[in-house]
Each structure stands twice: as C-alpha cells, then as structure tokens.
Symmetry: C2
Subunit: 369 residues, 2 copies
C-alpha cells in the first residue's frame, strides 16, 4: 500500500548499500528531501525530527518509510508545504484552529504549543483543528507536553479501515489515542490505535509471510481471516475484536476520537475522509491536542505515577523471560538500543527505495553501513 513516486524506479541502487544509518544523517536526508519539494527549512527540520523519533521508538510504519507519502502529496499540490495555521475561535482554555492544509506536524506543533500556553494560564488547554494532513505518531505530540511537565494528549482521525461491530463496512479510521505524563523513572506514554492493531502490523505479517492471529482482521467480504494478504485487502476489527469480547468498546473509543477531531472541528469525518491509498484531494484531517498542568491538582504527581509504574514492572510475570511493561517502556527500550547501536537499522528494501528517492530528487543519498 506504500505510496510511490512515478519515475523513481528508473534509478537502480548499487548492490553494496548497508542498512544501518546514523540518526543525524537520517534527519539530514529527510530535511533535504523536504526542501527539494519546497518545504521551508524550519518545517523541513520539524518533519525530520518527527519521523526520526518514530523510527527510534520502533514505530517504523510512521518514520522514514512515510517520507515518500508526504512528498507525493506536496508534488501533487494536495498539501501546502508553506502554510501556517490560523486560530478561528478562542476562549480562555480552548481554541479552534484551521490548519490551512499545511503539513500535519506543522499544524500539530502550533496547536500543542497553544495547548501548553493555555494550560499554564488556566490549568488546561484543549485545541481542535481541521484542515491538516498526516501528523506522524500520535505519541510525539503528547510527549511535547510531558517534556514541559504537563499531561499531554493527542488524537487524530484517519481514513476508514475499521468496521463497527456487526457490520463489515469500514466507518472509522484507526483513530489513535495518545497520552503522555511525566513520571519518576521514565514518562508514561500510551500511543495506541483504537483498532486491535494498526494497519502497518498486518502489512508486516504479509512481508514476513506469516499468518495473522485470530481477531485482527476481516477479508474484504467481511469474513474473519488469518490470511495476512486477505487481511491487508480487507478491514480491521476494533480493539476488543468480536462482539462477544466487547469489540464495540474499541469502536466506541474510535467514535470518541472522531468526536474530538472531525465532529468538534467541523472538518471531514468518518467515512467521508479520503482513502489514504488514493490521494486525489486534500486530506482535511482533524486532530485534537490537550495539555493539563498536574501542579493544579495534588502535589507529588510524578512520584505517585512513577511508583504505580514501578509496581506494575515488578509484579511477578507468568514467563520470567517476559517481564511486565508499562506504556512507553517498549519504545524507551528501542530508543536506547538505537543509541547503543550507533544508528537506526532499516529493512534493506526501504534503504533501496530511499536511494532511488535521493537520485530522483537530486539530493545526497542516505549514509548507511
């Protein structure tokens, strides 16, 4: 389902490319690609930061891999690389923002900065926007607030892929929920699709030639399937899976995200959002950003949260080889591994695609060993 730029494939990558890339050069490469299609320096650097952060955290489906999708939208003039968001309506603690069809991360940074500012003044800031584009992993925006000592939340709507319980017609996207909160011993970072799994995980099973676990996907006729290819052509079940195991709760959470995004902002919502594999019109994605100042409540927030997280990490696991982890731990472990490795390791196929992309855009290829 990856977006491919026409004409890129005439370039043939050399056979001796490596697949481990220094973090700084991945950032440089993405920045160069963005600038090559007209993204201003400041926005290009932001795009690079957001995508590299996703890779470091192990969410490869939202990192370097997505560069081409962003470029394709800009080359087709479906997204404006230079746009800056505007505030349409404002109250002490809230704002409605128009992203003016700018880059998702540009709109998101604007909105989360505003949420944090309002949280400093009134205890909480709640910002909804429309007119945006793909914003990367939901977690990074929530983490921006946590870095400032705040509780941060971020939500976004996305193209329809998830079926409501009892039907096989997709109505909602994988509509993620992210919540980050500062804690002693490492921040809490929940970053989850409201489907059983994100679409990228089904795609990964196809590449690996493995079957899907039960209760992930339906084929395009709406039958439950463990065939990864059929699942990829089909639809995702909401978190909880079947009706018997409360899949309607996951669908309800997806609706909650859509209420915070398209319904509150007045943007496109639910089944009206464009198919992300067919970029034929602006995406008009809506997001929602929240910052809450924990110092407005009981003192000692970070200590209590750290205590509860450590309690979870230390409860006896069923399998001693698989300790209990708290939201944010897998990503922290991944980031530390990348640092120790001295670079980010990618699939060779992505490295080759990025080499072709460099030639196509006329920018310096990604360094790899």
């Amino acid at each position: 389902m990856a977006v491919t730029l026409e004409g890129k494939n005439k370039f043939v990558p050399p056979p001796d490319l490596g697949n481990k890339c220094p973090e700084d050069d991945v950032r440089r490469f993405i920045t160069d690609c963005m600038k090559a299609v007209g993204v201003p320096q400041e926005n290009a650097l932001l795009m690079a930061d957001i995508l590299v952060e996703a890779d470091k955290r192990g969410h490869y489906s939202h990192g370097l891999l997505r560069t081409e999708m962003y470029l394709a939208d800009m080359l087709k003039k479906l997204c404006d690389p230079c746009a800056t968001p505007t505030v349409l309506k404002e109250n002490a603690s809230t704002a409605l923002v128009d992203g003016n069809n700018g880059l998702g991360p540009v709109v998101s940074k604007f909105c989360m900065d505003l949420a944090i500012k309002k949280a400093r003044e009134t205890g909480i800031g709640w910002i909804c926007n429309r007119g945006s584009n793909h914003y990367g992993i939901a977690g990074v925006w929530a983490m921006k607030a946590a870095e400032e000592g705040m509780i941060g939340m971020s939500f976004t709507n996305t193209s329809s892929l998830v079926v409501p319980t009892r039907s096989v017609k997709p109505v909602l996207g994988t509509n993620p929920i992210a919540l980050a909160a500062p804690a002693e011993g490492g921040n809490f970072v929940l970053d989850m699709a409201t489907s059983v799994v994100a679409g990228g995980k089904v795609e990964k099973k196809v590449y690996e030639g493995k079957p899907l676990p039960e209760n992930w996907s339906l084929d395009k006729e709406g039958n439950p399937t463990t065939d990864a290819k059929k699942g990829l052509e089909g639809f995702l079940l909401p978190l909880g899976g079947a009706e018997e195991t409360s899949g309607y709760k996951g669908f309800g959470l997806g609706m909650m995200v859509e209420i915070f995004c398209g319904i509150m902002s007045g943007g496109t919502y639910g089944p009206n959002i464009r198919d992300w594999t067919k970029a034929d019109r602006p995406a008009d994605i809506s997001h929602c950003f929240v910052a809450i100042d924990p110092s407005c409540f009981a003192p000692g927030f970070e200590s209590r949260l750290g205590d509860l997280m450590n309690y979870c990490r230390n409860v006896q696991p069923v399998d001693p080889q698989k300790p209990v982890m708290v939201a944010g731990d897998p990503e922290r472990i991944n980031s530390e591994k990348m640092k120790a490795d001295g670079g980010i390791t990618y699939d060779m196929s992505l490295i080759e695609e990025m080499w072709k992309l460099a030639k196509y855009l006329g920018v310096k290829p990604l360094q790899s060993v």
Copy 2:
C-alpha cells in the same frame, strides 16, 4: 460477592411477591432505605435517582442491587452520609476536590456541577477528587453534562481486579471511561469498563450456569478459564484480552483512568485500594469529571454527530436481525422498554432480598406485581 447485612435473613419473604416494580416506587423505596440509616433527604433522593437510572438503562449490577452495599458502608461508619465535599485548590478551568468520605453520587454531583460551571466560563472544566465512595454507573455523570449541551466525561478508579498483560496479579480496577455528547436523534453515551467485561457480567454467567467466552477471565492461578465460577474467583483481562490481541492497550487505558483519578487527586491508587468485598476501611475512591462546551469549537456539533451516528446505524449488518448500534443505543432501547412495560423487572431473588431489607430497616417494602 453481594454485600449482605447481618440479621436481615431472619425475615422470611411471602411467597406471592411479584417482580415488576413501578419506577417511582423503586425511587421511593431506595430513598426510604437511605433515610433509615441517616442519609439527609436531598442526598437520599439523589442516591435513588442514580440507582434507578442504572436499572432503567439495563445496568442492573449498579442499580437497586447495590443499595445494600451503600447501606452496609454507612452502618459500619465507613462512609459519611452527611458529608459535603470541599474544594482544596482551584484554577480558572480546574479544581481539586476532597469528597470528605461522602456518598459517591453526592461528591460526583458537586464535581460535575463545578465542571459545567467552569466550562461555561472558559470552554472546559476538569475536576479531580479523592475521598469519595462508589459513584454508580460512570455514564450518568457524563450524561449530566450532555443534558446541558456539553460534552461530558467521567472516570473512576475501583478495587483491583484486572491483571496487566504478562502477569496474573491484579493491579488496577475495571476503571471505567464514560463520554456523553449531545447529538440530534439521541445522545452518544459511551460507558465502558477498561476490562474486557465488567465483573458483574462474569457473576451473571454464574447465575445462568453458562460458560464464559474465551478471553474474559483468568482463574486464581492465572490460567485462562471459561469456567464462570473459577473466573469469578479469579481476575479479569484488560480490554483486548491476550497480548497477541493487544490486551496491553486495555491495560494502558486503565492506567490512563488511574492517572486522571488517584494519581492526579493524591488519593489511594491501584493495588492500594481496598478490596470491595471486604469493607474494613473507608474506600477513598477518586473520580475525574470533565465538561467541554462544543460551542467553543465549530458550529453544528449536534448535527454532525447525529449524522455520523445515523450513518453507523444504517450500514449493512452481517445479520439483518442484529443491526449496528452506537454507544448509548442499547441503554436507550432498554429505557424505552421499561417505560412501555410500566415498570422495572428484577430477578425474583433481588425482590426477596429487598423485602427482607425493608423489614430489617423498618421501611415500607417495595411494591411489585
């Protein structure tokens, strides 16, 4: 696991009791019971309203059935029927409240009223409290905001019953999330435990003599079980079930609820909360209440939400006998059925228990036909 008052069982109910009760008399009966143990009139009426609303919506585990649990805590002096909450800390959009060990619904009404007031002034009100008791169904508090044209949310922590992914030791309660929002054609009301199912659903399977669906429960040794009795003695899985089907997401949502409740308010949290079957000390439950004014965002909120909900209701179902429903629909259907029936129908065993309770407390028994 029902709480029973000692000495109540010496009363033997007559054999000719009916099991359908006029709504107004259920309200009268609960009010009388509350007043019999020293609850002031105003608080007793509120308790009755909240419990009757749960029954009408079909959440019998949180209605008349719970009357005895509330009475037992008050008779043991573990909960103060006369307490009024106090604001400990306040900002333009936030407040920290001490429930002073008052009745859960009394504390909750105080907090949600304050959230709505702040939302009128600043666009949003976010209130956390500690020092409360069981607050009934989460949904009714969110609905209070929706009745005022606001988006309402309510969260509460509860006694530990839910295991983290990879362990068999319960750390969190069923920590519910409720969100209500005004919509044309009937409000959206999501009211869900963050476990696969609430504990009451396992209890119901025991009464019915039916097995549990897979992925609901673990036995007390931590093995997956479909034996309802073993499940009732054991623990609940978080929404999503096993690790393979993303149970860690449900656990992460339970953590989010605990962050909004015990962690933000400075109350008791996670595994430190008392076992609800052993009421040996005050519960010190924390809740969180949020009201958001949708008029601070794009005009037309109720119309857009109604449109999306109707779209969901009208998508083709797999089984024409089972149409797609949106959060709030099953409860609305149940309430309408109760109204058409001219009363609330209970299990005969509950009717008999309530007859004994009336005799024990010296109040007029519940009318039934």
